[in-house]
Subunit: 249 residues, 2 copies
């Protein structure tokens, strides 16, 4: 029969719930959420990804080579498993048409997120990575208020606008009493085969930003066409690079 | 006394009105509008820029080192002149607070754009470059319907999403019977000092896109930190680069 609402929660045990947020769209937050989860998984941790970025279906597209409809068991909704064993749940996986745009209203968002928390059979996880909507909109606030978050990771880029708005995201996290685990600067530089690092979006101010926000710079990822290409083909889990391996988890 | 509505129009003579549009925000459309205007101006043409991108005050910020409030004469509103003699008009220059966000509704947009056309003393211009709102929203449609456009230039980037959505913008132009003067691919590559061109966002499909849209590829601009830096300091007119000089006007 239909699973009892919230019954999965009683049998879940999630050690660390980490939100991944940004000051604005387009800095690569969803890509970085996937890479962070992948990095943790490669270190042997049990990892889940909760796609709460209602602005689009990018997480399932980046992690799955083909659409999979989640099944249920007597406890609740079973997350879809990726090739490397990451457990994934996204609204877009529950829809008939995964590309369908969903019109979200505040109370609907909170309800859906709480259902992801209570009704999804996550089991035991070391880390649950939560991709939240970009920026500091009502949607991002609602998502971050609807889950018991242990910390947030902020994704930024060297562009001056990204630097300005990420501080708003940090301020939002502070107001919600969520500690900032660190900053990841994406599209930080381009690596030339000659060994040169090109600061294509200008010099990085990420170290200074981390210092101002009283947190650490977890890592800097290069602008790399294969991140985009692997994301587009649902194989972002297979991404490898020195900068990526160095990403402190 | 107050200028007669539409009186400027009778004494204006604008040879080519060129809209600059994009499939989505963030591809650098406003920056490219400025660079296109600058390039034409350096070739000796008389050039105006009509900032109709109601989503933000980027054009005045990129072209002026300090905010200037337009004056009026007996014919209408006088455009602000940039350092190289480009005539500029933007809603943001008319506001008390240039950083104020304006809430736009359809009829308001059409009215404001028509006023820019009819009440601004452009004088004689070879080219009027019109920066339209990004993407194919109601706002971009309204702006493009409110002006007598001779052609549109489409700005894209190598990212797969940009390629997909720019075709929607091309389709919108076609439906409005506006010829596509050409495509400019921005952030096309990063130029290393060793001579290598890094395809940081993947391989370009711009030539193929231009062919599909039955138009020409006007040029490809590199991802270049000085474009961002000069834009931020209001000195984008001073940008120089080989790729930029080669930009066919
Ligand atoms: N480091 C990178 N190098 C190249 N492309 C990237 C990088 N990070 C993200 N992208 C690409 O940029 C686009 C936006 O990334 P996404 O993760 O969806 O951003 P956000 O979630 O912040 O809106 C996607 O096409 C993605 O593949
Ligand atoms: N070729 C480029 N290289 C580096 N930065 C760029 C380039 N073109 C635009 N930018 C930067 O990217 C950001 C977005 O550009 P903008 O022109 O405002 O885009 P749009 O009008 O499409 O939203 C700005 O900070 C701008 O300075
Ligand atoms: Zn090199």
């Amino acid at each position: 029969g239909a699973p009892q609402a919230g019954s999965a929660e009683a049998s879940n045990y999630i050690k660390h719930v980490i939100a991944v947020a940004s000051g604005k769209g387009g800095v690569g937050k969803s890509s970085v959420s996937v890479l962070l989860a992948t990095n943790l998984r490669r270190h042997g941790y049990s990892v889940g990804v909760l796609d709460a970025d209602i602005t689009g279906p990018s997480i399932p597209k980046m992690l799955l080579s083909e659409f999979q409809h989640p099944r249920t068991n007597e406890l609740g909704i079973l997350p879809v498993e990726t090739a490397s064993g990451i457990k994934l749940m996204s609204i877009n996986l529950l829809l008939e048409d995964p590309n369908q745009a969903v019109i979200w209203r505040g109370p609907l968002i909170a309800g859906a997120i709480k259902q992801f928390w209570g009704d999804v059979v996550w089991g035991e996880l070391d880390y649950l990575i939560v991709d939240v909507p970009p920026g500091t909109s009502d949607a991002s606030l609602t998502v971050m208020q609807s889950l018991p978050l242990n910390a947030v990771v902020l994704v930024t880029s060297p562009q001056s606008l990204s630097g300005m708005v990420v501080r708003k995201a940090a301020s939002m996290a502070a107001q919600l009493n969520i500690p900032i685990a660190g900053i990841i600067e994406n599209m930080s530089y381009a690596q030339c085969k000659c060994g040169e690092r090109l600061e294509v979006f200008g010099p990085s101010h990420a170290a200074e930003l981390a210092h101002d926000l009283d947190t650490q710079l977890l890592g800097q990822l290069p602008i790399d066409a294969s991140i985009a290409a692997l994301g587009d083909s649902g194989a972002l889990e297979t991404y490898r690079s020195e900068a990526f391996e160095a990403l402190v988890s």
